[in-house]
């Protein structure tokens, strides 16, 4: 409870630092903020090229790029935020050691700036959906309205993971490399480029279900691409993952807070 109070107290700080991050990231680059939009588009084109031209996927009914888009965006939000969170504290050592600074703000700033990127990419996804709809390849579903809800749940989940890895990697530097590799693997064991239902082996499917990102990605695909509500199991899983991850994040952070300034 105390942690939540302190978060509320630091909301201005987190907002200001997020704005700073976003500004600083694009200052000096010619296209500036446009990169936030261009990055997912370019990524999408690459994957579309690979999976429609080189390795055509027949399993997904409908425009494959849209399916891909629905899964890649939340995955990128998760992986980029968590990966950056691992260094969020150690790269701001000056703040932790020299200023009375709430360390938990650092991973949360990372999460919120990636959330902004994610949110900015959403209109592109909607525009693409609109374009396909005009071409009568797909219809726009009302379930798109559920996306903000999913984003909130996912943000909570990502924030918990980010806080955990941010504080733990100060003491255990190898964590960053471990996570980098896990993310590579994670991309493929999350049903982003394929449908989970198309996996024939039952144990493998069960394994995929264990991946906490699976229910999130599947639900995004449900509401954005397939136009139906997320499954009950997935919904329950998402809520429990979000809560569990937050609890773990606060617990680990609270445990490590006192030694952070010393261990950096």
């Amino acid at each position: 409870m105390n942690e939540l109070k302190s978060l509320y107290r630091h909301r201005q700080l987190i907002a200001a630092l997020t704005a700073r991050d976003l500004k600083a990231r694009y200052r000096g680059s010619i296209l500036g903020f446009f990169w936030s939009l261009a990055n997912p588009l370019l990524l999408l084109s690459v994957y579309t090229l690979v999976f429609t031209v080189f390795f055509p996927q027949q399993a997904v009914k409908g425009p494959y790029p849209l399916f891909l888009f629905a899964g890649i965006l939340p995955w990128t939000f998760f992986s980029a935020a968590v990966l950056e969170a691992t260094t969020s504290i150690s790269s701001n050592a000056g703040l932790i050691k020299k200023v009375m600074f709430p360390a938990e703000a650092l991973p949360l700033v990372v999460v919120s700036s990636h959330l902004v990127h994610f949110a900015l990419a959403m209109p592109i996804l909607l525009a693409a959906t609109g374009a396909f709809a005009v071409a009568h390849q797909i219809s726009i579903h009302w379930t798109i309205a559920l996306v903000p809800l999913l984003m909130i749940l996912q943000t909570l989940f990502v924030a918990g993971v980010a806080m955990t890895v941010a504080s733990a990697s100060v003491l255990f530097r190898d964590l960053r490399d471990i996570i980098t590799n896990l993310m590579q693997l994670g991309f493929f064991i999350t049903p982003i480029i394929y449908l989970i239902g198309n996996i024939q082996s039952r144990p493998l499917r069960a394994l995929l279900r264990l991946n906490p990102m699976t229910p999130f990605v599947v639900s995004y695909q449900d509401v954005l691409f397939f136009g139906h509500l997320p499954g009950l199991a997935d919904s329950l899983l998402m809520v429990s993952y979000a809560l569990a991850s937050l609890a773990l994040g606060f617990l680990v952070f609270e445990r490590l807070r006192d030694v952070l300034a010393e261990a950096i």
Binding site: Q12, L13, A16, L17, R20, K23, A24, R27, G28, G94, L95, I96, K97, K98, V99, M100, F101, A168, L171, F172, R173, D174, V252, R255, L256, D258, V259, A261, E262, A263
Partner: protein, 479 residues
């Protein structure tokens, strides 16, 4: 707002400290830094998670502070001196809440701003303007509060039009100036300063000192960590000397700085000084110095310290006939005589005197160095006479400090309050300085007569008056 850090919470809970009369209370604070190697990273994480502690092998720790206790009153300026690695910055970081003490308790009441590294948290890619906002928020201001202070901050920093340029284009001086400007405009109740006044050019440095004096005047509690001993002497009300994590002395800044210089010089020359401790009876040992330094600020006892190569055997206030005085009337000619005993010849020496009012304010102070006397030899005993045509003070109690020290301030013999004297006067004029004067009236201004009881009296009478202060004056005895 009150904050209490440490293992042992106060019995009644830390919140009660909000109304505390002191600003910072440090009680038995110890801090050990754990050493931990690369190999045992995972063990570190595990033990940190399980025990909230960075403990590895029990012996792999370095003590940085050992049972340090002191209390800083509201509005006090408190200096911390000591060698590098003596634990000064650790102490400051513990008080600011950045580090946690290994044991002991710290209670801080009020809004704290810590100047540990100026401009820490500035982001090079964004403008000075944006950095002011972010830095201000980090220091606990709200956006609106920064809006109100923004112009003052920019003006103080002297950054001018560069305020809208990215900070990476700033010179290091501009960077530091902006950092200082933001920090002092937070309007803290307590300002912790770590060695930052030494940065920047001379002009800005003076501006910083002036700002800090202004804050002190407004009642802000100040705590400095510094190597600039002059600042401690000038700005601080009290000083703490830390050595190897232990509090060696707390008290009068002149006094503490001096014992520190003494020890630094002592360890530098090692056995260079021939005087043995027993051969020097007058100046006290280090242990006594400690004891005295911790005693209240303006005790009536003489305080004396110094290394003892040169001794002020006798300090006296004498009249023009050489008679010692303890009381005098305003305007009498007097001298301060120092009988100097030379135990080890010196070629670097300064004689100084200071006259203080009983309330502790310095009335006047000078020394031979300040007045341009270049030391040549001090090889035999001698006498120094500081002659004043008249000592024009208003009635009151005063004390005199006399000292002989090296040019960099290391005392051979420092005698604080070695003479106490009273200036008696029947005129109840006020202030400290009483210029020699008389009144002239012209035109239609007349006075009936002069009440002789209210006129000044010569020294012997003043002495009599002082001794019989409570009795009604007997006019017959006076001319």
């Amino acid at each position: 707002m009150s904050r209490s850090v440490g293992d042992q919470r106060p019995a009644g809970g830390g919140r009660g400290a909000a109304a505390a009369s002191f600003a910072i209370g440090v009680e038995n604070v110890s801090k050990s830094y754990r050493l931990w190697g690369r190999r045992s990273q995972f063990a570190t994480l595990k033990s940190a998670l399980l025990k909230r502690d960075l403990k590895l092998e029990p012996d792999a720790s370095v003590p940085a502070l050992k049972k340090v206790s002191f209390v800083i009153d509201r509005g006090e300026a408190f200096g911390i001196i000591g060698r590098n690695g003596s634990g000064k910055s650790t102490l400051l970081k513990i008080i600011s809440g950045i580090l946690k003490p290994t044991s002991g308790r710290v209670v801080v009441s009020g809004r704290v701003a810590a100047l540990i590294e100026l401009g820490a948290g500035f982001h090079p890619e964004i403008t000075g303007r944006e950095n002011i906002y972010i830095n201000g928020i980090m220091l606990g201001l709200t956006r609106r509060e920064i809006d109100q202070r923004f112009d003052r901050i920019v003006e103080f920093s002297g950054i001018g039009p560069f305020i809208d340029q990215p900070v990476k284009t700033y010179s290091s001086g501009m960077y530091v100036r902006l950092g200082f400007a933001v920090a002092v405009h937070v309007d803290p109740d307590i300002l912790l300063i770590d060695e930052v006044l030494s940065v920047g050019d001379e002009e800005f440095s003076q501006k910083c000192v002036a700002k800090i004096q202004e804050m002190k005047y407004r009642g802000v509690t100040l705590m400095f960590v510094t190597h600039q001993l002059e600042q401690v002497r000038n700005l601080c009300d009290r000083a703490l000397w830390l050595d190897h994590g232990e509090a060696v002395a707390v008290g009068d800044p002149v006094r503490v700085v001096d014992s520190y210089l003494q020890q630094v010089a002592g360890s530098r020359t090692a056995q260079g000084v021939v005087v043995s401790a027993t051969a020097v009876p007058a100046p006290e040992t280090e242990a006594q110095a400690e004891e005295n330094a911790a005693s209240p600020r303006d005790s009536l006892e003489e305080e004396r310290w110094g290394s003892g190569e040169v001794i002020l055997r006798r300090v006296a206030l004498v009249d023009d006939q050489g008679r010692e005085l303890v009381a005098l009337g305003a305007g009498t000619p007097v001298s301060i005589e120092l009988d100097v005993e030379v135990r080890v010849p010196q070629d670097d020496f300064v004689f100084g005197i200071g006259i203080y009012h009983a309330d502790g304010n310095c009335v006047y102070g000078t020394n031979t160095e300040l007045e341009g006397f270049m030391p040549q030899h001090l090889d035999r005993d001698g006498r120094v006479r500081f002659a004043m045509r008249s000592l024009d003070l208003v009635a009151g109690s005063y004390r005199i400090d006399a000292a002989v020290h090296t040019r960099n301030g290391r005392a051979f013999d420092y005698r604080r309050g070695c003479i106490r004297f009273v200036v008696g006067a029947r005129v109840h004029d006020i202030g400290v300085y009483r210029p020699q004067h008389h009144w002239e009236f012209e035109g239609g201004i007349t006075f009936r007569e002069i009440d002789l009881l209210k006129r000044n009296v010569p020294a012997p009478v003043a002495e009599y008056i002082r001794d019989n202060e409570d009795e009604p004056p007997r006019p017959k005895k006076r001319k």
